[in-house]
Protein backbone atom coordinates (compact mmCIF):
# COMPACT_ATOMS: atom_id res chain seq x y z
CA UNK A 1 0.00 0.00 0.00
CA UNK A 2 1.20 3.47 -0.95
CA UNK A 3 0.99 6.16 1.70
CA UNK A 4 1.99 9.77 1.05
CA UNK A 5 1.98 12.19 3.98
CA UNK A 6 2.57 15.94 3.96
CA UNK A 7 4.63 15.74 0.78
CA UNK A 8 6.33 18.92 -0.40
CA UNK A 9 8.34 18.94 -3.61
CA UNK A 10 9.34 21.13 -6.50
CA UNK A 11 11.96 21.98 -9.08
CA UNK A 12 14.86 24.06 -7.81
CA UNK A 13 13.33 26.86 -5.76
CA UNK A 14 9.91 26.50 -7.34
CA UNK A 15 7.54 24.61 -5.04
CA UNK A 16 4.95 22.46 -6.78
CA UNK A 17 3.46 20.23 -4.10
CA UNK A 18 2.64 21.66 -0.68
CA UNK A 19 1.55 19.12 1.88
CA UNK A 20 -0.02 16.36 -0.20
CA UNK A 21 -1.48 13.46 1.78
CA UNK A 22 -3.08 10.49 0.07
CA UNK A 23 -3.11 6.71 -0.02
CA UNK A 24 -3.57 3.93 -2.57
CA UNK A 25 -4.59 0.63 -1.00
CA UNK A 26 -3.73 -2.83 -2.25
CA UNK A 27 -5.87 -3.75 -5.26
CA UNK A 28 -7.49 -0.31 -5.49
CA UNK A 29 -8.01 1.89 -8.54
CA UNK A 30 -7.44 5.50 -7.50
CA UNK A 31 -7.75 8.49 -9.83
CA UNK A 32 -5.87 11.76 -9.36
CA UNK A 33 -7.67 14.63 -11.02
CA UNK A 34 -6.72 18.24 -11.41
CA UNK A 35 -6.06 21.04 -13.88
CA UNK A 36 -2.84 21.48 -15.83
CA UNK A 37 0.02 22.57 -13.61
CA UNK A 38 -1.59 21.29 -10.42
CA UNK A 39 1.37 18.99 -9.80
CA UNK A 40 -0.13 15.64 -10.82
CA UNK A 41 2.85 14.53 -12.88
CA UNK A 42 5.26 15.85 -10.27
CA UNK A 43 3.51 13.71 -7.68
CA UNK A 44 3.81 10.54 -9.76
CA UNK A 45 7.42 11.35 -10.63
CA UNK A 46 8.22 11.83 -6.93
CA UNK A 47 6.83 8.39 -6.13
CA UNK A 48 8.75 6.84 -9.04
CA UNK A 49 11.97 8.55 -7.95
CA UNK A 50 12.43 10.69 -11.06
CA UNK A 51 11.90 13.97 -9.19
CA UNK A 52 14.27 14.14 -6.28
CA UNK A 53 15.29 16.80 -3.77
CA UNK A 54 18.26 18.97 -4.76
CA UNK A 55 21.56 17.43 -3.70
CA UNK A 56 21.90 18.91 -0.26
CA UNK A 57 18.26 19.82 0.17
CA UNK A 58 15.40 18.00 1.83
CA UNK A 59 11.71 18.10 1.25
CA UNK A 60 9.13 17.65 3.93
CA UNK A 61 6.85 14.64 3.96
CA UNK A 62 7.11 10.92 3.42
CA UNK A 63 6.32 8.46 0.66
CA UNK A 64 5.87 5.00 2.13
CA UNK A 65 5.37 1.79 0.24
CA UNK A 66 4.75 -1.24 2.45
CA UNK A 67 6.21 0.84 5.30
CA UNK A 68 9.45 1.42 3.36
CA UNK A 69 10.55 5.00 2.60
CA UNK A 70 10.71 5.30 -1.19
CA UNK A 71 12.45 8.67 -1.02
CA UNK A 72 15.64 6.97 0.08
CA UNK A 73 15.68 4.74 -3.03
CA UNK A 74 16.97 5.36 -6.55
CA UNK A 75 14.35 5.14 -9.28
CA UNK A 76 15.53 1.77 -10.62
CA UNK A 77 15.21 0.27 -7.13
CA UNK A 78 11.69 1.62 -6.72
CA UNK A 79 10.64 -0.35 -9.82
CA UNK A 80 12.19 -3.44 -8.28
CA UNK A 81 10.04 -2.93 -5.17
CA UNK A 82 6.93 -3.26 -7.34
CA UNK A 83 6.00 0.34 -8.17
CA UNK A 84 5.97 1.04 -11.92
CA UNK A 85 5.16 4.24 -13.80
CA UNK A 86 3.83 4.66 -17.33
CA UNK A 87 5.20 8.16 -17.93
CA UNK A 88 3.48 11.00 -19.72
CA UNK A 89 4.21 10.91 -23.44
CA UNK A 90 5.00 7.15 -23.23
CA UNK A 91 8.78 7.60 -23.48
CA UNK A 92 9.36 4.41 -25.45
CA UNK A 93 12.73 3.44 -26.91
CA UNK A 94 11.86 4.46 -30.46
CA UNK A 95 14.63 2.66 -32.31
CA UNK A 96 13.84 -0.69 -30.72
CA UNK A 97 11.18 -3.25 -31.54
CA UNK A 98 7.99 -3.80 -29.56
CA UNK A 99 9.43 -6.92 -27.97
CA UNK A 100 12.74 -5.24 -27.09
CA UNK A 101 10.85 -2.44 -25.35
CA UNK A 102 8.77 -4.94 -23.43
CA UNK A 103 11.75 -7.06 -22.44
CA UNK A 104 13.58 -4.01 -21.13
CA UNK A 105 10.60 -3.47 -18.85
CA UNK A 106 11.61 -6.66 -17.07
CA UNK A 107 15.20 -5.51 -16.61
CA UNK A 108 15.30 -5.87 -12.82
CA UNK A 109 16.84 -9.25 -11.91
CA UNK A 110 13.73 -10.84 -10.40
CA UNK A 111 11.45 -9.68 -13.21
CA UNK A 112 14.02 -10.83 -15.79
CA UNK A 113 13.73 -14.42 -14.59
CA UNK A 114 9.97 -14.37 -15.24
CA UNK A 115 10.03 -12.30 -18.42
CA UNK A 116 8.66 -14.98 -20.73
CA UNK A 117 5.51 -15.48 -18.68
CA UNK A 118 5.13 -11.70 -18.30
CA UNK A 119 5.51 -11.27 -22.05
CA UNK A 120 2.75 -13.80 -22.69
CA UNK A 121 0.49 -11.91 -20.24
CA UNK A 122 1.09 -8.63 -22.07
CA UNK A 123 0.44 -10.25 -25.45
CA UNK A 124 -2.79 -11.78 -24.11
CA UNK A 125 -3.84 -8.35 -22.85
CA UNK A 126 -2.91 -6.60 -26.12
CA UNK A 127 -3.02 -9.22 -28.92
CA UNK A 128 -2.18 -6.59 -31.55
CA UNK A 129 1.27 -6.21 -29.97
CA UNK A 130 1.97 -9.91 -30.45
CA UNK A 131 1.35 -9.48 -34.17
CA UNK A 132 3.72 -6.52 -34.32
CA UNK A 133 6.39 -7.74 -31.92
CA UNK A 134 9.21 -7.25 -34.44
CA UNK A 135 8.10 -3.77 -35.51
CA UNK A 136 10.04 -0.71 -34.39
CA UNK A 137 7.81 1.16 -31.95
CA UNK A 138 8.14 4.43 -33.80
CA UNK A 139 6.22 2.83 -36.67
CA UNK A 140 3.21 2.07 -34.44
CA UNK A 141 0.07 4.16 -34.05
CA UNK A 142 -0.35 6.26 -30.91
CA UNK A 143 -2.76 3.77 -29.37
CA UNK A 144 -0.44 0.84 -29.98
CA UNK A 145 2.46 2.83 -28.56
CA UNK A 146 0.43 3.45 -25.42
CA UNK A 147 -0.21 -0.29 -25.20
CA UNK A 148 3.55 -0.88 -25.40
CA UNK A 149 4.08 1.71 -22.65
CA UNK A 150 1.54 0.01 -20.37
CA UNK A 151 2.95 -3.40 -21.30
CA UNK A 152 6.51 -2.30 -20.58
CA UNK A 153 5.51 -1.19 -17.08
CA UNK A 154 3.64 -4.48 -16.53
CA UNK A 155 6.75 -6.45 -17.44
CA UNK A 156 8.24 -5.40 -14.10
CA UNK A 157 5.40 -7.34 -12.42
CA UNK A 158 4.36 -4.33 -10.33
CA UNK A 159 1.90 -4.39 -7.44
CA UNK A 160 1.20 -0.71 -8.06
CA UNK A 161 0.87 0.62 -11.60
CA UNK A 162 0.91 4.40 -11.96
CA UNK A 163 -0.17 5.97 -15.23
CA UNK A 164 0.32 9.58 -16.30
CA UNK A 165 -2.34 10.63 -18.82
CA UNK A 166 -2.56 7.34 -20.74
CA UNK A 167 -5.44 8.61 -22.89
CA UNK A 168 -3.66 11.76 -24.07
CA UNK A 169 -4.06 12.23 -27.81
CA UNK A 170 -5.88 8.94 -28.39
CA UNK A 171 -9.13 8.36 -30.26
CA UNK A 172 -12.09 7.45 -27.98
CA UNK A 173 -12.13 3.85 -29.15
CA UNK A 174 -8.48 3.44 -28.15
CA UNK A 175 -9.04 5.20 -24.83
CA UNK A 176 -11.71 2.61 -24.09
CA UNK A 177 -9.33 -0.21 -25.02
CA UNK A 178 -6.64 1.11 -22.68
CA UNK A 179 -9.10 1.59 -19.82
CA UNK A 180 -10.52 -1.89 -20.29
CA UNK A 181 -6.99 -3.24 -20.09
CA UNK A 182 -6.48 -1.35 -16.83
CA UNK A 183 -9.59 -2.97 -15.35
CA UNK A 184 -8.28 -6.39 -16.43
CA UNK A 185 -4.87 -5.63 -14.91
CA UNK A 186 -6.56 -4.55 -11.68
CA UNK A 187 -8.55 -7.78 -11.59
CA UNK A 188 -5.23 -9.61 -11.28
CA UNK A 189 -4.65 -7.74 -8.02
CA UNK A 190 -2.52 -4.83 -9.26
CA UNK A 191 -3.36 -1.48 -7.64
CA UNK A 192 -3.74 1.37 -10.11
CA UNK A 193 -3.00 5.05 -9.54
CA UNK A 194 -4.25 7.00 -12.53
CA UNK A 195 -3.67 10.62 -13.52
CA UNK A 196 -6.17 11.62 -16.18
CA UNK A 197 -7.51 14.68 -17.93
CA UNK A 198 -10.39 12.62 -19.22
CA UNK A 199 -12.36 12.86 -15.97
CA UNK A 200 -15.48 10.86 -16.90
CA UNK A 201 -13.29 8.02 -18.20
CA UNK A 202 -11.11 8.03 -15.09
CA UNK A 203 -14.02 8.15 -12.65
CA UNK A 204 -15.91 5.44 -14.51
CA UNK A 205 -13.35 2.89 -13.39
CA UNK A 206 -11.82 4.40 -10.24
CA UNK A 207 -12.89 3.18 -6.82
CA UNK A 208 -11.77 6.46 -5.30
CA UNK A 209 -10.36 9.74 -6.48
CA UNK A 210 -8.48 12.81 -5.27
CA UNK A 211 -8.63 16.37 -6.52
CA UNK A 212 -5.27 18.12 -6.73
CA UNK A 213 -5.29 21.88 -7.30
CA UNK A 214 -2.36 24.25 -6.86
CA UNK A 215 -0.27 21.54 -5.25
CA UNK A 216 -2.84 20.69 -2.57
CA UNK A 217 -5.45 17.97 -2.21
CA UNK A 218 -8.73 19.87 -2.24
CA UNK A 219 -11.15 17.00 -2.32
CA UNK A 220 -11.55 13.26 -2.29
CA UNK A 221 -14.28 10.72 -2.56
CA UNK A 222 -15.59 7.62 -4.27
CA UNK A 223 -15.67 7.57 -8.05
CA UNK A 224 -19.43 8.00 -8.17
CA UNK A 225 -19.34 10.61 -5.39
CA UNK A 226 -16.81 12.78 -7.26
CA UNK A 227 -18.79 12.37 -10.46
CA UNK A 228 -21.80 13.88 -8.68
CA UNK A 229 -19.75 16.57 -6.93
CA UNK A 230 -20.79 20.07 -8.03
CA UNK A 231 -17.22 21.46 -8.05
CA UNK A 232 -15.91 18.55 -10.11
CA UNK A 233 -18.73 18.92 -12.59
CA UNK A 234 -18.17 22.62 -13.03
CA UNK A 235 -14.35 22.54 -13.09
CA UNK A 236 -13.67 19.34 -15.04
CA UNK A 237 -16.76 18.39 -16.97
CA UNK A 238 -17.66 21.85 -18.24
CA UNK A 239 -20.89 23.85 -18.27
CA UNK A 240 -22.73 21.26 -20.34
CA UNK A 241 -22.31 18.66 -17.64
CA UNK A 242 -23.56 21.07 -14.99
CA UNK A 243 -26.70 21.91 -16.92
CA UNK A 244 -27.50 18.29 -17.70
Amino acid sequence: MLEIRGLEAGYGDVPVLSGVTLAVGAGEIVALLGPNGAGKSTLLNCVAGLVRPPRRGRWAGTIRWDSQDLRALDAHLIVQRGVALVPEGRRLFGGMSVQENLELGAFAPRAWAGRRAALERVYTLFPVLAERRRTAVQALSGGQQQMVAVGRALMASPRLLMLDEPSLGLAPRLVAAILEALVAINRDGVAIFLVEQNVPAALSLAHRGYLLEGGRIVGEGSGAGLMANEHVRRAYLGPLAVRR
Binding site: F93, M96, A111
Partner: protein
Amino acid sequence: MILAQQLLLGLLIGGLYGLAAAGLSLVFGVMRVLNVAHGELIMLGGYGAFWLAALLGVDPFASLALVIPGALLLGAILYWGLFGFVVRAHEETRVKNSLLIGFGLALALHALAVRLWTADERSIPTSYGGAVLSVGELSIPLVRLATLVLALLLIGALQLLLSRWRWGKAIRATAEDWQAALLTGIDIRRAYLLAFALGTALAGAAGTLVTVAYSVSPSIGLEWTLKALIVVVLAGLGSMMGTFVGGLVLGLAEAASAATFGGPYREIVGLVIFVVVLTVRPRGLFGR
Protein backbone atom coordinates in the same frame (compact mmCIF):
# COMPACT_ATOMS: atom_id res chain seq x y z
CA MET B 1 52.72 7.51 -56.17
CA ILE B 2 49.57 6.92 -58.16
CA LEU B 3 46.23 8.18 -56.91
CA ALA B 4 44.72 4.72 -56.39
CA GLN B 5 47.62 3.76 -54.14
CA GLN B 6 47.15 6.90 -52.05
CA LEU B 7 43.42 6.30 -51.77
CA LEU B 8 44.09 2.72 -50.71
CA LEU B 9 46.39 3.88 -47.92
CA GLY B 10 43.77 6.44 -46.91
CA LEU B 11 41.16 3.70 -46.72
CA LEU B 12 43.45 1.57 -44.57
CA ILE B 13 44.05 4.29 -41.99
CA GLY B 14 40.35 5.20 -42.22
CA GLY B 15 39.49 1.90 -40.53
CA LEU B 16 41.49 3.03 -37.52
CA TYR B 17 39.78 6.43 -37.58
CA GLY B 18 36.49 4.53 -37.39
CA LEU B 19 37.68 2.40 -34.48
CA ALA B 20 39.03 5.45 -32.66
CA ALA B 21 35.73 7.25 -33.17
CA ALA B 22 33.57 4.30 -32.06
CA GLY B 23 34.69 4.60 -28.44
CA LEU B 24 34.23 8.37 -28.38
CA SER B 25 30.81 8.02 -30.01
CA LEU B 26 29.68 5.40 -27.49
CA VAL B 27 30.72 7.51 -24.50
CA PHE B 28 29.23 10.71 -25.91
CA GLY B 29 26.04 9.03 -27.06
CA VAL B 30 25.34 7.33 -23.74
CA MET B 31 26.74 9.75 -21.16
CA ARG B 32 26.53 13.08 -23.05
CA VAL B 33 30.10 13.50 -21.95
CA LEU B 34 32.82 14.55 -24.39
CA ASN B 35 36.04 12.84 -23.39
CA VAL B 36 38.75 14.98 -24.99
CA ALA B 37 41.33 12.64 -23.45
CA HIS B 38 40.12 9.86 -25.77
CA GLY B 39 43.23 10.30 -27.94
CA GLU B 40 45.44 9.97 -24.87
CA LEU B 41 43.67 6.69 -24.04
CA ILE B 42 44.53 5.56 -27.58
CA MET B 43 48.12 6.62 -26.94
CA LEU B 44 48.20 4.60 -23.70
CA GLY B 45 46.85 1.55 -25.54
CA GLY B 46 49.69 1.94 -28.02
CA TYR B 47 52.30 2.04 -25.27
CA GLY B 48 50.62 -0.93 -23.61
CA ALA B 49 51.29 -2.95 -26.76
CA PHE B 50 54.76 -1.43 -27.07
CA TRP B 51 55.66 -2.52 -23.54
CA LEU B 52 54.22 -5.98 -23.99
CA ALA B 53 56.34 -6.37 -27.13
CA ALA B 54 59.54 -4.78 -25.79
CA LEU B 55 59.54 -6.32 -22.31
CA LEU B 56 57.78 -9.65 -22.80
CA GLY B 57 58.13 -10.22 -26.51
CA VAL B 58 54.38 -10.46 -27.06
CA ASP B 59 53.27 -10.23 -30.70
CA PRO B 60 51.49 -6.86 -31.16
CA PHE B 61 48.34 -8.44 -32.58
CA ALA B 62 48.26 -11.03 -29.79
CA SER B 63 48.73 -8.23 -27.26
CA LEU B 64 45.17 -7.08 -28.05
CA ALA B 65 44.04 -9.94 -25.82
CA LEU B 66 45.77 -8.22 -22.89
CA VAL B 67 45.41 -4.56 -23.87
CA ILE B 68 41.61 -4.75 -24.25
CA PRO B 69 40.91 -6.16 -20.74
CA GLY B 70 43.49 -3.78 -19.29
CA ALA B 71 41.80 -0.83 -20.99
CA LEU B 72 38.38 -2.01 -19.75
CA LEU B 73 39.75 -1.91 -16.21
CA LEU B 74 41.38 1.49 -16.76
CA GLY B 75 38.07 2.79 -18.10
CA ALA B 76 36.25 1.57 -15.02
CA ILE B 77 38.83 3.24 -12.77
CA LEU B 78 38.60 6.52 -14.70
CA TYR B 79 34.82 6.39 -14.42
CA TRP B 80 34.90 5.81 -10.66
CA GLY B 81 37.58 8.42 -10.11
CA LEU B 82 36.62 11.16 -12.57
CA PHE B 83 33.79 10.86 -15.05
CA GLY B 84 31.29 9.33 -12.63
CA PHE B 85 31.07 12.73 -10.96
CA VAL B 86 30.27 14.48 -14.22
CA VAL B 87 27.14 12.46 -14.96
CA ARG B 88 25.63 13.57 -11.66
CA ALA B 89 25.54 17.09 -13.03
CA HIS B 90 22.59 18.34 -15.05
CA GLU B 91 22.75 17.27 -18.67
CA GLU B 92 23.42 20.79 -19.92
CA THR B 93 26.46 21.31 -17.71
CA ARG B 94 27.89 17.86 -18.36
CA VAL B 95 29.71 18.64 -21.58
CA LYS B 96 31.39 21.71 -20.04
CA ASN B 97 32.52 19.78 -16.98
CA SER B 98 33.67 16.84 -19.05
CA LEU B 99 35.79 19.16 -21.23
CA LEU B 100 37.62 20.46 -18.16
CA ILE B 101 38.17 16.99 -16.75
CA GLY B 102 39.16 15.63 -20.15
CA PHE B 103 41.74 18.35 -20.80
CA GLY B 104 43.21 17.85 -17.34
CA LEU B 105 43.38 14.11 -17.85
CA ALA B 106 44.92 14.55 -21.31
CA LEU B 107 47.71 16.77 -19.91
CA ALA B 108 48.36 14.38 -17.04
CA LEU B 109 48.50 11.31 -19.30
CA HIS B 110 50.75 13.12 -21.77
CA ALA B 111 53.20 14.05 -19.00
CA LEU B 112 53.05 10.53 -17.62
CA ALA B 113 53.82 9.06 -21.03
CA VAL B 114 56.83 11.35 -21.54
CA ARG B 115 58.13 10.30 -18.12
CA LEU B 116 57.62 6.58 -18.71
CA TRP B 117 58.54 6.25 -22.36
CA THR B 118 60.34 9.54 -23.27
CA ALA B 119 59.09 11.79 -26.07
CA ASP B 120 60.59 9.55 -28.79
CA GLU B 121 58.42 8.00 -31.43
CA ARG B 122 58.12 4.24 -30.95
CA SER B 123 56.95 1.43 -33.13
CA ILE B 124 56.89 -2.33 -32.83
CA PRO B 125 59.16 -4.12 -35.28
CA THR B 126 57.85 -7.50 -36.41
CA SER B 127 59.19 -10.14 -38.75
CA TYR B 128 56.17 -9.72 -41.03
CA GLY B 129 56.15 -5.90 -40.88
CA GLY B 130 57.34 -5.36 -44.45
CA ALA B 131 55.05 -7.90 -46.13
CA VAL B 132 53.16 -6.48 -49.08
CA LEU B 133 50.37 -7.93 -51.19
CA SER B 134 50.62 -6.82 -54.81
CA VAL B 135 47.39 -6.44 -56.76
CA GLY B 136 48.14 -5.09 -60.22
CA GLU B 137 49.98 -1.83 -59.65
CA LEU B 138 48.71 -1.55 -56.08
CA SER B 139 50.76 -2.76 -53.18
CA ILE B 140 48.84 -3.44 -50.01
CA PRO B 141 50.85 -3.46 -46.76
CA LEU B 142 49.58 -6.58 -45.02
CA VAL B 143 49.90 -5.24 -41.48
CA ARG B 144 47.75 -2.22 -42.33
CA LEU B 145 45.24 -4.45 -44.08
CA ALA B 146 45.10 -6.59 -40.93
CA THR B 147 44.40 -3.50 -38.78
CA LEU B 148 41.50 -2.57 -41.05
CA VAL B 149 40.01 -6.05 -40.78
CA LEU B 150 40.49 -6.13 -37.01
CA ALA B 151 38.92 -2.70 -36.64
CA LEU B 152 35.89 -3.94 -38.57
CA LEU B 153 35.69 -7.10 -36.44
CA LEU B 154 35.94 -5.15 -33.19
CA ILE B 155 33.20 -2.74 -34.23
CA GLY B 156 31.08 -5.68 -35.35
CA ALA B 157 31.60 -7.29 -31.95
CA LEU B 158 30.57 -4.05 -30.24
CA GLN B 159 27.47 -3.82 -32.42
CA LEU B 160 26.58 -7.40 -31.48
CA LEU B 161 27.16 -6.69 -27.80
CA LEU B 162 24.89 -3.65 -27.91
CA SER B 163 22.09 -5.45 -29.74
CA ARG B 164 22.13 -8.87 -28.02
CA TRP B 165 23.55 -8.53 -24.52
CA ARG B 166 21.08 -7.60 -21.76
CA TRP B 167 23.31 -4.77 -20.54
CA GLY B 168 24.04 -3.79 -24.12
CA LYS B 169 20.34 -3.10 -24.58
CA ALA B 170 20.40 -1.23 -21.29
CA ILE B 171 23.21 0.96 -22.63
CA ARG B 172 21.19 1.73 -25.77
CA ALA B 173 18.08 2.45 -23.72
CA THR B 174 20.02 4.80 -21.45
CA ALA B 175 21.44 6.59 -24.48
CA GLU B 176 17.97 7.09 -25.91
CA ASP B 177 16.14 8.23 -22.75
CA TRP B 178 17.81 7.85 -19.37
CA GLN B 179 14.65 8.62 -17.41
CA ALA B 180 12.67 5.96 -19.26
CA ALA B 181 15.61 3.61 -18.68
CA LEU B 182 15.40 4.27 -14.93
CA LEU B 183 11.68 3.52 -15.03
CA THR B 184 12.32 0.10 -16.54
CA GLY B 185 14.60 -0.72 -13.62
CA ILE B 186 17.96 -0.09 -15.31
CA ASP B 187 20.71 1.11 -12.99
CA ILE B 188 21.86 3.88 -15.34
CA ARG B 189 25.06 4.51 -13.38
CA ARG B 190 26.11 1.00 -14.25
CA ALA B 191 25.14 1.55 -17.87
CA TYR B 192 27.35 4.67 -17.86
CA LEU B 193 30.21 2.73 -16.28
CA LEU B 194 29.95 -0.04 -18.86
CA ALA B 195 29.76 2.42 -21.74
CA PHE B 196 32.84 4.28 -20.52
CA ALA B 197 34.79 1.07 -19.93
CA LEU B 198 33.85 -0.23 -23.39
CA GLY B 199 34.80 3.11 -24.94
CA THR B 200 38.19 2.96 -23.24
CA ALA B 201 38.67 -0.64 -24.37
CA LEU B 202 38.03 0.43 -27.97
CA ALA B 203 40.56 3.24 -27.55
CA GLY B 204 43.11 0.75 -26.22
CA ALA B 205 42.54 -1.57 -29.16
CA ALA B 206 42.81 1.35 -31.60
CA GLY B 207 46.08 2.44 -29.96
CA THR B 208 47.54 -1.04 -30.31
CA LEU B 209 46.67 -1.18 -34.00
CA VAL B 210 47.98 2.36 -34.59
CA THR B 211 51.30 1.41 -33.00
CA VAL B 212 51.74 -1.79 -34.97
CA ALA B 213 50.82 -0.26 -38.32
CA TYR B 214 52.29 3.22 -37.78
CA SER B 215 53.92 4.50 -34.58
CA VAL B 216 53.16 6.02 -31.20
CA SER B 217 54.53 8.99 -29.28
CA PRO B 218 53.22 10.82 -26.21
CA SER B 219 51.88 13.67 -28.35
CA ILE B 220 49.59 11.72 -30.73
CA GLY B 221 46.61 12.11 -28.38
CA LEU B 222 45.24 15.44 -29.56
CA GLU B 223 45.47 14.45 -33.22
CA TRP B 224 43.51 11.25 -32.61
CA THR B 225 40.91 12.99 -30.47
CA LEU B 226 40.40 15.40 -33.34
CA LYS B 227 40.11 12.65 -35.96
CA ALA B 228 37.67 10.75 -33.77
CA LEU B 229 35.61 13.89 -33.17
CA ILE B 230 35.43 14.64 -36.91
CA VAL B 231 34.26 11.09 -37.60
CA VAL B 232 31.64 11.25 -34.81
CA VAL B 233 30.25 14.47 -36.28
CA LEU B 234 30.41 13.07 -39.81
CA ALA B 235 28.73 9.74 -39.00
CA GLY B 236 26.34 10.88 -36.26
CA LEU B 237 25.41 9.02 -33.10
CA GLY B 238 23.61 5.73 -32.76
CA SER B 239 25.19 3.43 -35.34
CA MET B 240 28.58 1.85 -34.75
CA MET B 241 28.84 0.54 -38.31
CA GLY B 242 27.98 4.04 -39.48
CA THR B 243 30.90 5.32 -37.43
CA PHE B 244 33.21 2.79 -39.06
CA VAL B 245 32.07 3.90 -42.52
CA GLY B 246 32.56 7.52 -41.42
CA GLY B 247 36.16 6.68 -40.56
CA LEU B 248 36.72 5.19 -44.01
CA VAL B 249 35.22 8.31 -45.60
CA LEU B 250 37.56 10.57 -43.65
CA GLY B 251 40.57 8.42 -44.56
CA LEU B 252 39.65 8.52 -48.25
CA ALA B 253 38.90 12.26 -48.18
CA GLU B 254 42.27 12.99 -46.56
CA ALA B 255 44.10 10.92 -49.14
CA ALA B 256 42.19 12.54 -51.99
CA SER B 257 42.91 16.07 -50.81
CA ALA B 258 46.56 15.26 -50.17
CA ALA B 259 46.81 13.88 -53.71
CA THR B 260 45.01 16.83 -55.25
CA PHE B 261 46.34 19.79 -53.31
CA GLY B 262 49.50 18.33 -51.77
CA GLY B 263 50.44 16.82 -48.43
CA PRO B 264 49.96 19.87 -46.19
CA TYR B 265 46.24 19.91 -47.06
CA ARG B 266 45.66 16.41 -45.68
CA GLU B 267 44.59 17.69 -42.27
CA ILE B 268 42.41 20.49 -43.55
CA VAL B 269 39.82 18.35 -45.32
CA GLY B 270 38.73 16.84 -41.99
CA LEU B 271 38.04 20.27 -40.54
CA VAL B 272 36.15 21.26 -43.68
CA ILE B 273 34.02 18.12 -43.34
CA PHE B 274 33.46 19.01 -39.69
CA VAL B 275 32.11 22.47 -40.50
CA VAL B 276 30.12 21.42 -43.56
CA VAL B 277 28.39 18.51 -41.81
CA LEU B 278 27.52 20.63 -38.78
CA THR B 279 26.00 23.25 -41.09
CA VAL B 280 24.22 21.05 -43.60
CA ARG B 281 23.34 17.88 -41.68
CA PRO B 282 23.97 18.30 -37.96
CA ARG B 283 22.85 14.80 -37.04
CA GLY B 284 25.48 13.28 -39.32
CA LEU B 285 25.27 10.83 -42.21
CA PHE B 286 23.89 7.91 -40.19
CA GLY B 287 22.65 9.69 -37.05
CA ARG B 288 19.27 8.99 -35.51
